[in-house]
Point group: C2
Chain length 341, copies 2
């Protein structure tokens, strides 16, 4: 049987109350006594029964998710997954709140973080805008003992406890290799459609993509990045223009959202051309395009996994428990038409 507080009390030769004081870092325990108890804890391999503890404490984990108010499929999906987690709140002892802030606005994010922190939640998950002032306040929250995880987009060099998202540099590199290999040894131009170079994840994807392209596929030439602002209309125009003007384009990498516009442009302008296309994020549109051959591969991050992982990590950090690293790694999904879920 696994040891209980009674067992450590007996082993350490102290009372239950003292064990409790040590376990819950209450004052009034002499140093030597505390050490006796801690030794007993280690010797017996005692681990607090979190379920029983939470029951006794009547504990719930108030968690706050801070998301950019972006109107694209991915953010909608992320929102839906958080709401699904809210529906499971009772069983998971969580009390999850979603807060939206203007996208790409560090100041707004900072203000919201301050507001949220004032409520002393058990944890905060945020889609980070990569700015120094955001890093500063995140570091302060961590310092104040509030668990913080970044979601989808990370925060360079910050003290956040965890990042629940994919490695975007690896994603870009993977896209490059897939595109390069799919194109065989062909020579030609590659168009890159991004949302905005102001967003860290897009920058990183491009960085990874460009680096593998340059190193390993010199026959392919990258055109200047098209910034579609994750907007289908803008994306449509940019891609249609590019395809119209440049007959040498043989591949496209769409590393952001707004793929609806991309797909439309492809169907209008490139039905006859043998284009190889790699896009990010599996949505109803990209899925259909993958199945009908308009897109050749989709790179995806599973929003559901990201949300569940963020919650698990925040709860674990709030309890000072370890996380299973391998379980919390968010993988880059590569979908061909054959392995769609």
């Amino acid at each position: 049987m696994r040891p209980t507080v009674h067992d450590i009390a007996a082993a350490a030769g102290v009372s239950l109350a003292t064990v409790d004081r040590v376990l819950n870092q209450r004052p009034g325990v002499r140093h030597v006594t505390r050490e006796k108890v801690e030794t007993a804890i280690r010797d017996l391999g005692y681990v607090r029964d979190v379920a029983a503890a939470n029951l006794a404490k009547g504990r719930v984990y108030p968690l706050t998710f801070i998301l950019p108010a972006s109107d694209n499929s991915f953010m909608h999906g992320l929102n839906a997954e958080i709401r699904a987690a809210i529906a499971r709140s009772a069983a998971e002892r969580t009390d999850i709140r979603i807060v939206e802030v203007p996208a790409f606005d560090p100041q707004a994010l900072v203000r919201e973080l301050e507001t949220v922190a004032a409520e002393r939640p058990s944890g905060i998950a945020l889609v980070a805008t990569d700015a120094p002032e955001v890093k500063a306040i995140v570091d302060r929250l961590v310092h104040d003992g509030i668990p913080v995880v970044t979601l989808v987009s990370d925060l360079t060099g910050s003290l956040r406890h965890h990042y629940a998202g994919v490695d975007n540099i690896a994603a870009g590199r993977t896209a490059a290799r897939l595109l390069g290999r799919f194109l065989g040894g062909a020579k030609g131009e590659i168009a890159v459609l991004a949302g905005s170079m102001l967003v860290r994840d897009h920058r990183e994807r491009l960085e990874g993509f460009a680096s593998v392209m340059a190193q390993e596929f010199p026959a392919l030439h990258l055109l200047p990045v098209l910034e579609g602002r994750d907007d289908p209309e803008v994306a449509h125009k940019l891609i249609a223009d590019a395809l119209g003007k440049n007959g040498g384009i043989i591949g496209i990498y769409s590393l952001g959202a707004g793929n609806r516009g991309l797909i439309r442009a492809l169907k209008e302008k490139a039905a006859d051309r043998a284009l190889t296309v790699i896009a990010h994020e599996l949505t109803a549109h990209t899925r259909a395009a993958l199945l009908d051959g308009t897109i050749d591969a989709i790179l995806n991050q599973d929003a559901g996994h990201e949300v569940r992982s963020a919650i698990r990590v925040l709860k674990a950090k709030a309890d000072g428990l370890a996380v299973i690293d391998a379980q919390e790694r968010i993988r880059l999904d590569i979908f061909l038409k054959d392995n769609l879920p």
Copy 2:
């Protein structure tokens, strides 16, 4: 606040004891009373606090994993992941046992299942050998109320509650498309190295692979399957022979284990040839081969995820709870050298 047994007792106008009788299907409750209580449960949206219930019951989940005694990296990894789960037993209230049975021996598996079932565990996870007698006993166990999940390899048409493994047909199809696309429009022969055609997952991978090859890449011709019995030595010999005799081989799909032998053969015989190689299972060997360019892509199933998923599902089934389907889907990982974990 979420409702408790006290709340339903009050709402139904009965005593706590009666609510308890209904909840735990104890006898001595009139039909009408039972209905009153069940209505209250539904109206208030009561869900049993599993943590508190388990605490009260002093419940542990005795789970048994039945694995084939195969000496390959994947099974070793699977074993290690189960042992890691055993290390977490205390926190997860599980009591996990690993049982090994001779590989590919339905009778032995049936006997072991009978022995294990006699101990009435909370759940059984097994790497199924796909045989009618195995299906029969699994169906019987399910019928007797023992949760059963298949692991890695499924059992056709059985009543098992869940399958914790990848879709192997999709895996084969994906391999075919990757190989076909990587080879551009080239014409040539494709060698397929399997473990044994007696194993369901290998058969399915081949089936998916062959079907996409035939449909979409007619320029590529499949050679007869080489059965390497998941043994590095055998695999080495088979591949070395094939490469020696057949100069037309331009691609290899290794859908089983024993990749150590494959890799050695490739380095000896094909250092100069432009072979495209796709293999299954990420191990230290295949990882190194992917990085040095000997292998072009690795398809993988994450044994850790499979084990954790099997445990979650078994516990949930034992408690009659729902599972989050999306969370329990085991994904096919596609690794290029750029997105290795």
